[in-house]
Symmetry: C2
C-alpha cells in the first residue's frame, strides 16, 4: 500500500510533526481494528495479483475502457471464492469489489446485485424466486433494473411504459408507446444484461393500476442477440462512468407470460382480475440505506480529494515571500490552508454523520420489524436531506481541491478530474438534490405545525426560543451546536410563516409550499447543517480515544463549525444569534485554527489509508515523488508512440510547404 | 443558424411571451448591428461549408480528436483568405476561428498567433523580426511559447531553465538542469510546433541576469523530427483540451547562436557583456487584454450554459403538483427559476463589465502611449480581480446549469460536461485566481493607505463613511450600488486594520499581508462584486435602448444585485448596512422577480444567438426537439456498432456458461 521508494523530504517533514497516534485514528475510520486490517489485506491481495494489473484507463478509448473493466469484472466473479477468510461479510465483499474496479463500474455486479437481485428478493413470489434467484446468484443470467425513461426520472407515476394484460393468451404486452417512454440510463442495459426488471404501468380489463415490476429477458442466452421486439443500445459517452454501458430499451409489443409479473405483493389472476397488495410496500428502507451509502461516498470522495491536494501542497513550492528566501510550500499559505483544512474537517464531519445515519437506520429498522412505523418518516427526511447536503458540499469541494493544485490539477494524472466526474452523479441520482431538500423541507414544516410528531432530529423545532447569554464562548462546541440549532429553527419558522402567508392568500398547501420553496429550502439546508455539526460533536463525546487525538479532532470540529458560520453568517445574523463583531471574531478564529491544524494535516489524510492504487493520482502519491512520475505517466500518452505523429504528412507538412508548392 | 424543424410547442410558447425587441438586444450583445450580422454570416459560411463538417468529438478517441481538429485547423489556414469582406477586423477573424474549431484548440493558430508572434513583435529586434516574422505569418514555421515548467507556473523568477552564454563560440547553451525544470504545459509544444520562444535564466560571465526570451528551433523543417538534444512529448490527457498537444520540452545543453536571444530590450554583446533594457518593459498591457478576454469567456460560457438549461427546462416536464394535473414544465418551479435566472442575470452583468474593461483598457492604453502611467496599476488590479471573480462564478454556475438538467445533463449529449471541462482552466491560467485576488487585495490596501493614489474604481475607499437613511428602497439600483460599495469599503477597511495589527506585532508588510490574507481576499472579492454591480447599473444608464428592453434589463440588474446580497448577506450585515428584516426582504424580492423574468427567459438566451452548431447540445437545441435527437445521438456510440459486442465471446459467454463448463 505504501510505496517503498524514499519519501519526499518535505512530505516526511509533515509526517514527523504528527501529535497523535495514527493507528488509533485509522482504526476509528476503518470500522475497528479487525475490519481495518482485513480491508488492508484485501487491498494488498488485489494489488499483488498480477491478473488485476491492467492499463491505466486514462490512455484507453471508450471501447478499450469498457472491455478492460469487463475483464476485471469477470475476473472478480471467478476469483471471489478464493479469498477465503478475508471475506467475512458483505462490507468486505464491497471493499473487494471497490479495490478490483478502482471505484469504477462492475458490469456483472453493481446493477445485478445492487438492484436486480434485491428486487427479486423483495417482490418476487416464492415460486418466482425459485425460478430466477439461483441462476442469478450463479451468474447464469445478468440482470439490470429498468425504471427511468428518457422523459421521466424522479417522478415515478409519470412513467409511460405499458404492460397490457391479454387474458386470452395469459400474457402481458410490454410496450414503449413514445420516444420519451424509451427506458434510458440503466447501467449494463445496453450491451451486457440478459434480463431486466422492467417497471411499467399495468393495465388489466382496461384499467390502469399504476407501476408494477415485470421480468423481461432481453437477450438470447445462447448468442446474446437481442430478442424480437426489443431494441437495445448504449446511450453514448457521459461525463464519467464510461466503463458502463448505461443503456436504452425500446419495446415493441413484447409478449411475456403472466408469471413474469413479480407477484409477491399485488397480483393479476389469469382472468385479468387485479388483486391489490395487502399493504403498501415498505420501500423506504432500501432507499434510505442507499442514501446513507451516498453520504459515505461524500465523506470518502472528499477525503480522497483532500489527500491528493494536501500531500501535493506539501511537496509543491511556489513563489517567494521575500527576495532570496526559499520558496514556501504551498501549504504554508493561509489561503491554501483555508481551502484544504476546512474541507478536511468537512470530510471528517461527513464521516461521523454517516456513522450516525447507519446507527439510526439500524434502530428504526428494528422498530419497523416490530411494527412501529413512527420514526420512519424522520429517517426518510434525515437521509434525504443529508444526501443532498453532503453531496453538494463534496461536489464543489472536490473542485476546490483540484484547482488548489494549480495547472497540474487539470491533468488526468492528478486523479482529480476523474474523481469529480465519478462523484458528481451522486448529486442527481437516488433523488435529485433540490427535490430531496424540498421533501425534507415539507417534513420540517409538517413537524413544525403538527405538535404530535416527534423525533431526535426535529424535537428542537418545538422547544421555546433560546435566549442567548450576552457573552458567548465561540470556541465552545456545545455553544456552536446551539447556534446552528437556532439558526435552523429560525429559518424553518420563517419558511412556515411564508407558507401560511401564501395559504392566507388562497393557495392550497401544495401551492403554498411551492410558492415558498426558496425559503423552505433554506430551512432544510440549515437543518441538515445543524445535524452534521451536532453529530460531529456527539461523536466526540461518545467515542473513546486518547487525549492527543481528542485534541486534534476537537479542533477539526471547531474549524468545521466556525467556518460554516463564517460562510453562512447572514443566516445567523438574520436570526439575531450573532452580532457583527462576533461574526468577525468567527472569521478570525478560523484563521487562527489553521496553523494549529497544520502539523497534523498530512497525517489526518494518511489516516484514511487510501492506497496509491486506489487514488490513481500522481500528485497524491504516498511517497510524494510527484515530478519524476508525472513525466513517466505522460510518456504513456498515445501521441508519444512516435516522435513524428502520423498527422504530420497529412496536415503539418502540406501547411509548412504550401508556399513552396505554390511556386 | 436556426434549425428549420418545427419548434417544440412548449418552447414556442415561451418565445411568444417576449415583451421586448429581440433584434435590439442581439445588436447590443453582438457589438452593434453591422458586426453582429457579419458574425452570423461568418457562422453560416462555416456551417454551410461541407469541408468543415466532421465527426462529433464525443465519439472519437484522443488521437482521432487530435487529428480531426488538426484537419480543421489546417483547413482554416487554407480557407481564411477566401472569406473576403466577411473578415474585416481581428474580431471577425477570431469569430471565424471560433466557429471552425467550435471553441476548441486550433493548433496552428492559438499559440502561434496568440503568444509566439506577439512575443516576436514585442521583444525581437528589427533584424530578428525580419528573419522570423514573415515565415511565421506565412506558416513556414509553427511557433509556441515555452514558459511554464513542471515545477513552476505562476512564479516566473523561480524558473530553472538556464541559458549560459559561451563567448568563445558566441552561443547560448539552453539546458534543463532538473526534472522540475522541464518545460510543461505549453500548447502544441509536444508534437506540432517547429519553434518555441523559450524563457530561461540568462547567465553571462557567471552572473545571472534573470528571465529572458530565446528562439529555439524544436523540429526539423524537412521531416519534423525533434532536433538533437531536444526531447519533446505530449503531457497526456487532460480534463478537456484533448485536441491540443500540450507538451513538454527537455533540453540537454542545446546550443543556439547569440542572435537567438530576443534583443529588442536587453542585449548580450558578443563578448558576453550584458546590456540592461533601457526601461522596464511594459507587459501589463497584453496581460490585461488577455484577462479582459477571459472575462468575456466568463460571460459567454455562462450564457451558453444558461441557454442550454433554460431551453431544456422549458421542454422538460416533470412531476405533478396535484394528482391529475398535467406535469409542469421544470421551468415553472421557483427553485429552478432561482438557479437559472440568477445565472442568466449574472451572464448579462459579466457581459457589461467586460465591455467596461475593454473601454478602460483603451483609455488607459492611450494614456500609456502618451507616457502617463498613473492608471496602469488600477487597470491591472481591475483586470486581475475581475478575471478571478467572474471565472469563479461562471465555473460553479456552469455546473449548476448542468445539474439543473437532471440525469441528461451528465450525458455528453447535453454539451454541458464539455462546456465545464473547457471553461474551468480559465480559473487557473493567466494568473491563478487566488493569487490574482491577493494581488488586487494588495493594491486595495495600498490605495487605502496612500491617499495620493486615485482612480475611478477605488476612489470610494477614501470617501467618508456613508450614513444610510433609516428607510431604503431595496428595488432602487442606485441604492443597491451604494450598499455594495459600502460593503467593499467596510471589508477593505477591516482587512487593512488586520494588516496593521500584524505589523504592530512585528511582521513586515509582506508578512502582515500574508497573515491577514483570508481577510484581504474577502475585501478584494467584495470590491470586484461592487465593480460588476456598478458597471451593470452604469451601462443601463448610458446605453440607448427602447423602453420595453430597459424594463427587462433593469429587472435583470435588480435580480443580480439582490441575489448577491441574499447570498452574501452576512457581509452586508457585518458592515451594519442592512437589518435582519431587510435581508429577509431581499430574499423575498428575489423570489418575486423570478416570475416577472419568466416570460422573457427563453428570449433572453435566444438573444445571445448561439447556433446549434456551436452549442453542440442536444438539450439546448433551438427547436427544442430534444428526445428524438437524444436517441439519434446515442446511436453513434461505438458500442452500438453491433448488437452483440466483441467482448461477449471473451467475457460474457464464459461467465454465463461457466457452470455448464464445470459439469
Amino acid at each position: 500500500m505504501k510505496s517503498s521508494q524514499k519519501v519526499n523530504p518535505d512530505l516526511q517533514k509533515e509526517r514527523d510533526t504528527r501529535t497523535f497516534n495514527l493507528e488509533e485514528l485509522s482504526d476509528i475510520l476503518g470500522g475497528g481494528h479487525e475490519q481495518r486490517l482485513r480491508k488492508n489485506q484485501i487491498a494488498a491481495a488485489v494489488e499483488n495479483d498480477v491478473e488485476y494489473n491492467g492499463p491505466d484507463p486514462a490512455f484507453l478509448s471508450r471501447m478499450e475502457r469498457f472491455e478492460e473493466w469487463m475483464r476485471r469484472s469477470s475476473l472478480l466473479v471467478r476469483k471471489k471464492d478464493d479469498l477465503g477468510e478475508l471475506i467475512q461479510d458483505h462490507k468486505d465483499f464491497v471493499n473487494y469489489n471497490t479495490y478490483v474496479t478502482k471505484k469504477r463500474p462492475n458490469v456483472f455486479f453493481d446493477l445485478h446485485f445492487g438492484m436486480f437481485v434485491p428486487t427479486l428478493m423483495g417482490q418476487a413470489s416464492e415460486e418466482q424466486k425459485e425460478k430466477w434467484l439461483i441462476p442469478s446468484l450463479n451468474h447464469e443470467m445478468i440482470g439490470t433494473y429498468a425504471q427511468t425513461e428518457m422523459g421521466h426520472g424522479t417522478f415515478l407515476r409519470g412513467l409511460e411504459t405499458t404492460a397490457h394484460y391479454d387474458a386470452t393468451r395469459q400474457e402481458f404486452i410490454l410496450h414503449s408507446p413514445t420516444t420519451t417512454s424509451i427506458k434510458w440510463w440503466p447501467g449494463t442495459l445496453g450491451k451486457t444484461a440478459t434480463h431486466a426488471v422492467v417497471m411499467a404501468q399495468l393495465y388489466t380489463k382496461g384499467v390502469c393500476h399504476g407501476i408494477h415490476a415485470f421480468m423481461l429477458q432481453l437477450r438470447s442466452l445462447e448468442d446474446h442477440r437481442s430478442l424480437p421486439g426489443i431494441t437495445l443500445g448504449d446511450i453514448g459517452p457521459k461525463f464519467g462512468y464510461n466503463e458502463n454501458d448505461n443503456g436504452f430499451l425500446k419495446m415493441d409489443h413484447v409478449r411475456i407470460p403472466l408469471g413474469n409479473m413479480l407477484m409477491k405483493n399485488a397480483q393479476v389472476l389469469p382472468d385479468g382480475t387485479y388483486v391489490k397488495a395487502s399493504r403498501k410496500e415498505l420501500t423506504y428502507g432500501t432507499m434510505t440505506l442507499v442514501r446513507s451509502f451516498i453520504v459515505r461516498n461524500s465523506a470518502f470522495f472528499l477525503a480522497e480529494a483532500c489527500t491528493i491536494a494536501i500531500r501535493y501542497s506539501s511537496v509543491r513550492r511556489q513563489s517567494e515571500m521575500r527576495p532570496g528566501e526559499p520558496e514556501p510550500q504551498v501549504l504554508d499559505y493561509p489561503t491554501q490552508q483555508h481551502k484544504l483544512f476546512t474541507l478536511l474537517a468537512t470530510s471528517y464531519a461527513f464521516f461521523f454523520v454517516q456513522q450516525k445515519m447507519v446507527d439510526m437506520y439500524g434502530r428504526i429498522n428494528e422498530e419497523i420489524g416490530k411494527g412501529e412505523f413512527g420514526n420512519m418518516q424522520e429517517l426518510h427526511s434525515v437521509s434525504s436531506g443529508l444526501k443532498a447536503f453532503t453531496t453538494a458540499v463534496t461536489n464543489s469541494g472536490i473542485e476546490v481541491c483540484r484547482m488548489s493544485c494549480g495547472g497540474h490539477g487539470y491533468s488526468v494524472a492528478s486523479g482529480l478530474p476523474d474523481l469529480y466526474a465519478y462523484f458528481t452523479p451522486n448529486c442527481t441520482y437516488e433523488g435529485e438534490n433540490t427535490v430531496l431538500l424540498l421533501q425534507t423541507a415539507r417534513y420540517l414544516i409538517k413537524c413544525f405545525r403538527d405538535r404530535n410528531l416527534s423525533g431526535d432530529s426535529i424535537d428542537y423545532l418545538r422547544k421555546g426560543a433560546w435566549r442567548r447569554p450576552a457573552n458567548v464562548d465561540l470556541t465552545d462546541i456545545g455553544l456552536l451546536c446551539r447556534l446552528y440549532e437556532q439558526r435552523a429553527r429560525g429559518l424553518v419558522t420563517f419558511s412556515a410563516e411564508k407558507v401560511d402567508e401564501a395559504m392566507r392568500k388562497g393557495e392550497d398547501m401544495v401551492g403554498a409550499l411551492n410558492k415558498a420553496s426558496l425559503h423552505t429550502v433554506r430551512g432544510a439546508n440549515a437543518h441538515c447543517h445543524y445535524y452534521v455539526v451536532k453529530s460531529f460533536a456527539d461523536k466526540l463525546q461518545s467515542l473513546e480515544m486518547s487525549a492527543p487525538l481528542r485534541v486534534v479532532l476537537t479542533d477539526l470540529a471547531r474549524l468545521y463549525a466556525l467556518d460554516g458560520i463564517a460562510k453562512c453568517s447572514g443566516e445567523f445574523m438574520e436570526e439575531n444569534l450573532l452580532s457583527a463583531a462576533e461574526v468577525k471574531k468567527c472569521h478570525q478564529l478560523v484563521a487562527e485554527l489553521l496553523p494549529i491544524i497544520r502539523p497534523n494535516a498530512v497525517s489526518l489524510v494518511d489516516a484514511f489509508e487510501f492506497s496509491d492504487d486506489m487514488l490513481m493520482s500522481v500528485l497524491g502519491r504516498y511517497d510524494g515523488n510527484v515530478y519524476e512520475n508525472l513525466l513517466k505517466w505522460a510518456m504513456k500518452s498515445d501521441l508519444n508512440k512516435t516522435d513524428v505523429i502520423p498527422a504530420y504528412e497529412k496536415h503539418i507538412r502540406p501547411l509548412l510547404k504550401r508556399n513552396q508548392a505554390k511556386l
